[in-house]
Amino acid sequence: MLVQTRRSAGPALGLFACMTALLAALGASCSRQDATIDLVAVGYASWRPTTEVVLDYEIPGHMDSLRRIVMNETGFQFKEGPAGVSFPEGTVIVKEILLAGSGDGYGAGPAYGVGGADGSRGRPNMITAMVKAKDDPRAQGGWIWLMKDPESGMESVVGQDLCYRCHLNANEAYPYADGNPAGQFRDFVFFVPGKDEPAP
């Protein structure tokens, strides 16, 4: 008798367990999940630069920190047609910000590490990168925009339109490289190889 009475609690307990699991699942679906990514290859330092121009002039964003831009070989297969420039899927462009500058730029804020105030060159303070992945839900303008902390190697995709918004200007006339006087579509890239001589 007793045994049966005990058993009859089984389904009820099961029901409770199901309910709890359901609630837990509901809760879990609400909390957002952080994507762990590894989009920038460790050996990117050996890639070819996209420009010979010394990028130490002042720009909004990085001020006068020294920048170095390199691109993987896939990127150098970019096409240029009547619709403008387009980089193939899998292109990775990395921009290292090497020196801390002055002002409110990336180089100065504690989030980006100060270092290098004496003008020393060495490890980058900050790495930004664009990864061509048209169908990735995180992509804006066909590119995944990300920052990599050189200290920890942690990559984080920029969700807001900060990078994208500024890089939209690469598709119209702008003050850098050749200045894109014709307002050609440049696939959001300021320094397209071969186009870094200012227009006459």
Binding site: L23, C30, P60, M63, G105, Y106, A108, P175
Partner: protein, 475 residues
Amino acid sequence: MAQLSLSAKINAIVVSTLALGLGAVAVAYTASVVRARQELTSDALNREAEILYSSIENFMMVGEAPVAIRFFSDLRNVGEGLQVGLYRRDGMGAFIDNETIETVNLNLMRPRFAPKSAFPERVREPERPYFDAAAGMPPETVQFRWEEGGRSYERLYRPLLNLPKCTACHGSDHTVRGVIDLRTDVTQFLAAQRSVVAFSAGGAAALLAALAALITRFIHTIVVRPVRSIGKVCGAVTSGDFTGRVEVARRDELGTLAETVNRMVEGLYERYELTKYVSRGTLSSIAGGQEPKRVQRTLLFSDVRGFTSYTERHGADAIVGVLNKLLDAQAGIIQAHGGDIDKFVGDEVVAVFSGDDAPYRACQAALDIAALSSRAAEFDGLMVGMGIASGSVVQGMVGSKRRADFTVIGDPVNIAARLCSAAKAGQTLVCDCSYDAVKDRPELSFSGPYKARLKGKAEAQRVYLLKAADERREA
């Protein structure tokens, strides 16, 4: 107690299951309503900010600050729900003085824009630290809830970048040009949301109560009540009442159980009736194991005298009636003195007495049986002779596997049987082993000893004649 806790348990399970189920639904529903509302507001704010961003970007490209100023003051009339503001990156209101125009002219190294003399009213101070987060590095869109003047707002700080195309006029020494301030009044939404929450909570509670009551009632009718009535019948059976029956006219497991219980009670009743015909020794041996054991007992044998001549006189049919009457009377007397009827063999009664005063009680019973002769008319003049013997006997189940009796075997049994057949009508012969145990009792008197030759015994036995009470009085 157990029944009470059964319905309490059922109630607890029903209520908690419903509470969890309905609670989960209500919570999920409310959460989805709240989330949908938040997403709608947030999407709308972001879209509006986007439109403003693009508008400003385009006015400013051509240096149309006056158009921007007009645009912003026109936006104030869009409606009460939406309020728009624009800050410089240091938190000062935009377009409130000539500072920017001066910088631009300086950057362009020519007086491109003429200073203004009239300015729109100042915008209020921005909300730090939200503003600092929006205009900081990296710049990010910040959305927050704001309470002011009893109203609730959903607000958005959208940083405007110093885009490459802006740098010609504004210089490259900063990243954030300004911050758009958008606020939308959500007071009514929140009120509606609160009533949705209250409604779904109340609804869930009401539904819970109603369903719990209904299900509990239902379960009570189909489970608890039948179980209780089964319990009641079983309880009655335990206290010896076999008349109760479970009334459950249903074709489910409980109906089957009720039928089984009813059949069981009937069966129990039959067996209970049967126990009347079985010796107490047999019953207790069934309850307490059937191992044979050696025990001290007093045996009382009685059988009817004048039986043969009675049959000749009245015929075989009449004898059963009167014999049963006589046996019944004897059985009553024996039981009254704590004796146990071991068996009836024809007209013979075999009774066993146990305990310290067994010989004494056997003698008392014999005296009472002998006294039945005073009611001689009732028994058509039939009388019994008796024999009493005490000693060590083996008690156990004797018979076949199919049919066995719990009985006693041993010398005292034989002696009592022989004494009984030696006794004349109305007499009780007692062996010296029983006599020794009772001779000091003033209530009993004996004559003897006599020497008696008993069948199966080589030597003559010393026996005593138990005297009837009236005989004693006379003596």
